[in-house]
Symmetry: C2
Subunit: 497 residues, 2 copies
């Protein structure tokens, strides 16, 4: 469908997105809505604009064009403008094609990602695209195309040479291994520019936890400087424009709480590609209360991660471990930061599971890179941790990011309002409810309240006596403590039998 | 996931949609976004609200509740509120289920329609539902459920006794048979409460055309009075709350120009059910430039229409006719109204095709109702038309709707700016481009400009001589006429060979 209208020059600029103004009633009759993409043809030249409508500023038969458009295209008042509804936009055609069950090629997928990033596609249109991926699983090739297009439509922070990374799929409380793996690798001369997210549905993300020790928001240039100085960094990735389509896709995934695995793979890998990572270890906790419910799913994901990584020449290892037990004793930004420091500073109270898991992951990454013979990675990682070299490196990173490098684990400030919970019977801890921990931490205010959280005095598998301390709540106010107490009337952190 | 917060009473009312106010940062950490549906539990009672967020009006740990909520639920300041993200809302579960390729039962479909109508589902969520229908065709049973739920979640205008209706699927220029069928049936004592749409993508809808003769916007009660007085009416359905979910589904279908046949069936049938129609004839023009491209599609649709109708006990007949030729000579509200009057008033210039098609449809409807023996419907309809009884009835309807019953076809005001187009060669008209007619009418300003349009002086199949008049443009301004002239440089209304 196309319509013919007369240009009316409007002496205003609209900024980056090109806009044309239609008479509201007429637009309605044309079936055109505010926000629709239009193709205008004027003297044989095509201009792509987004439709705005107004009752009075343009009459029926007119189309209002702003300065950004008419100054470039030399349009006069009363020039004849052919207006076409952009249902033929390549991205929209591609979305329709996929809704019909067909597969997309790279150009089609790139057009979608590119139009998402430049706001050419509306939320509703992006939703159709997400729905198409949910109903018809992407092929491996489509996953590769999606990853490539998502990376290439954002900033490319590409570091050169050997670039390592470690990524946790998440869903497990605590689990701050990243903050130990990064200094171990960096201490051994491996470049590891780690960008992390803040918590969305968990009590703390790596960025939230690192922020207890140092600032985490930097520009690409600043990150480059930090990494050039120390080999590593622990920064927040959300402020960068790495794979920016991801966020917009996430926004339309929320309202249905959709998190298809394919989206997870693309979202993780696109950021790695944009950062220039070429050696990657994925930490994938498997268990009913994590994101990956069973080993069958985990192995399917391992295959897909590996396929996509190899298409980019990325060496990858997926480390799957069946668990739903929190890693470390603390849950919440400050408590997790204290656990990390206790491990790096080799304190007596350090959580053994956190050290072990971090060393294991660091070791596997070292083997993948070829820093040591197969089977010797963990030994090498232990040495770096035990000798204090990892902590020295972490001090350099904290300093480079503007924090206090002389912080001691026992100086970390925790919530002033505490409450202890003791065992109501004797027995063995046979189950830890990761989701309950999550909810109680939320009630306490984590992660926005950094010093709030739970310290687990006991862990899965140990025997406890009636009256022994099980866990401790920390909050910054009586009110938040009270909210957690109420939550705990319905929830059970440990199951004792 | 659920969270515990303390109630803060806010002394304001929000109106019909229940809202709760969360601290912006905290909501973000909860993964809750403005507009999300939440389930609040207070003292064991559940309240469903939509989330709003604010930086300052509520602190973290608090949830702001407006008067509408706390006055009914007897909530005190600091009451403990359990907040659950409504991913478990029945409608959302149902949408997810269908996205996974499963079929829905009536309760599930009703929950979706009901939540659409009450604004419990956001545009993005409705989009997922529409996408699911596009990717996996609805079963016949689902079509019935959809129709029933869409009708029952709106006003039910139910007329009692025998209620007839005629519906054109559309896509054909002119084709104002409805305005002739209704008075014929009503003259024979058949109740035919006709609600029509305005044009969206065509130059005139029945409501636009009838509006040339009389007002068309009425309440349900007013419509009931008009029908009780005259047996018929020709009113605009858009202002009524018949099948209100339809409009909202339409809104998210636009941005991808999706118009699946299933949506068309449900949308048409739900309105018939809400009106209480029990005898229905569907006029379905079939051809490359109409909505139904071929007979195969038409027969598939006939089957589905029939299935759904029978589930409601509606007697139905689908009248399929291969054509892409406009019906009548005029296109545009005033020109079409003139055609209709010329037929009803038996003027010399009346378009034969319009009379014939209207009589044919009226006849089939009369046979369906049992007003005459099979095969005798057209004869009966002709009699009513020829004898002037149809015009008399139309006068009553025009009067009951507040128009001038003594209007003469030749008094209809047309656009003052005319332009004639003549044949540039001799030959036979072998093709009429329905879409081109549409576009030129748009350029002239129809349907918002009622007196704009095209009068076709010739029709498909006739021989013309070079220089003979082919068609006439009518516009209310030189500018609009000029726009149409430009459109006609690229478009061809008739193909002569």
């Amino acid at each position: 469908m196309s319509y013919f209208l007369k240009a009316k020059r409007i002496d205003e600029e609209t900024g980056s997105i090109k806009v044309a103004l239609l008479n509201e009633l007429e637009a309605w009759h044309f079936g055109i809505h505010a926000g629709d993409n239009l193709k205008l043809t004027i003297d044989g030249k095509a201009i792509y604009v987004s439709a705005n409508t107004s009752k009075h500023r343009v009459r029926p038969g007119q189309i209002g064009l702003y300065k950004d458009v008419w100054s470039k295209a030399k349009i006069l008042n009363n020039s004849i403008v052919q207006v076409e509804f952009q249902e033929n936009a390549r991205s929209i055609q591609a979305i329709k094609k996929r809704l019909l069950g067909k597969r997309l090629n790279y150009e089609e997928i790139h057009s979608i990602m590119s139009d998402i990033v430049t706001d050419q596609l509306s939320k509703v249109q992006i939703t159709y695209f997400v729905a198409s991926g949910f109903m018809n699983e992407y092929t491996d090739e489509e996953l590769y195309f999606l990853t490539k297009a998502m990376a290439e439509t954002g900033d490319m922070m590409k570091f050169s040479g050997l670039v390592a990374d470690k990524h946790s799929v998440g869903g497990l409380a605590g689990n701050r291994t990243t903050m130990i793996v990064v200094p171990i690798l960096a201490a051994l001369g491996v470049k590891i520019p780690k960008t992390s997210s803040r918590a969305i549905t968990s009590p703390a993300g790596t960025a939230d936890t690192m922020e207890v020790l140092a600032p985490v928001s930097f520009s690409v240039d600043q990150i480059r400087k930090i990494v050039n100085k120390t080999n590593g960094c622990l920064v927040w990735g959300g402020g960068l424009s790495l794979a920016p389509a991801d966020d917009k896709i996430l926004k339309v995934s929320y309202p249905l709480s959709l998190e298809p695995y394919s989206k997870m793979i693309v979202s993780i890998m696109a950021k790695k590609v944009a950062t220039g990572v070429n050696h990657l270890i994925i930490d994938m906790p498997v268990g009913p209360t994590t994101k990956i419910p069973d080993m069958k799913t985990a192995r399917m994901l391992e295959k897909k991660f590996t396929y996509v990584a190899h298409r980019f020449g990325i060496k990858i290892k997926v480390s799957m471990l069946k668990t739903s037990d929190p890693v470390g004793f603390g849950v919440g930004p400050a408590l997790e930061a204290r656990d990390v420091l206790r491990v790096l500073q080799q304190k007596k109270e350090r959580p053994g599971d956190l050290s072990h898991k971090a060393v294991h992951l660091a070791g596997q990454l070292l083997e993948l890179i070829g820093k040591c013979k197969p089977g010797h990675g963990s030994t090498l990682a232990w040495k770096v941790l035990d000798s204090g070299r990892a902590w020295k490196k972490m001090q350099q990173i904290i300093k480079a990011q503007g924090g206090n490098p002389n912080v001691d684990s026992e100086q970390i400030v925790l919530g002033a309002h505490k409450k202890y919970y003791n065992a109501t019977k004797s027995g063995k801890i046979v189950y830890t409810d990761n989701k309950a921990i999550n909810l109680v931490c939320r009630a306490l205010g984590a992660p926005s309240v950094k010093l709030a959280g739970i310290y687990l005095n006991k862990e899965f598998g140990v025997r406890v006596k009636k009256g022994e301390r099980l866990f401790t709540l920390y909050a910054e106010s009586k009110e938040r403590l009270h909210l957690a107490e109420i939550a705990l009337e319905k929830l059970r952190i440990f199951k004792i039998e």
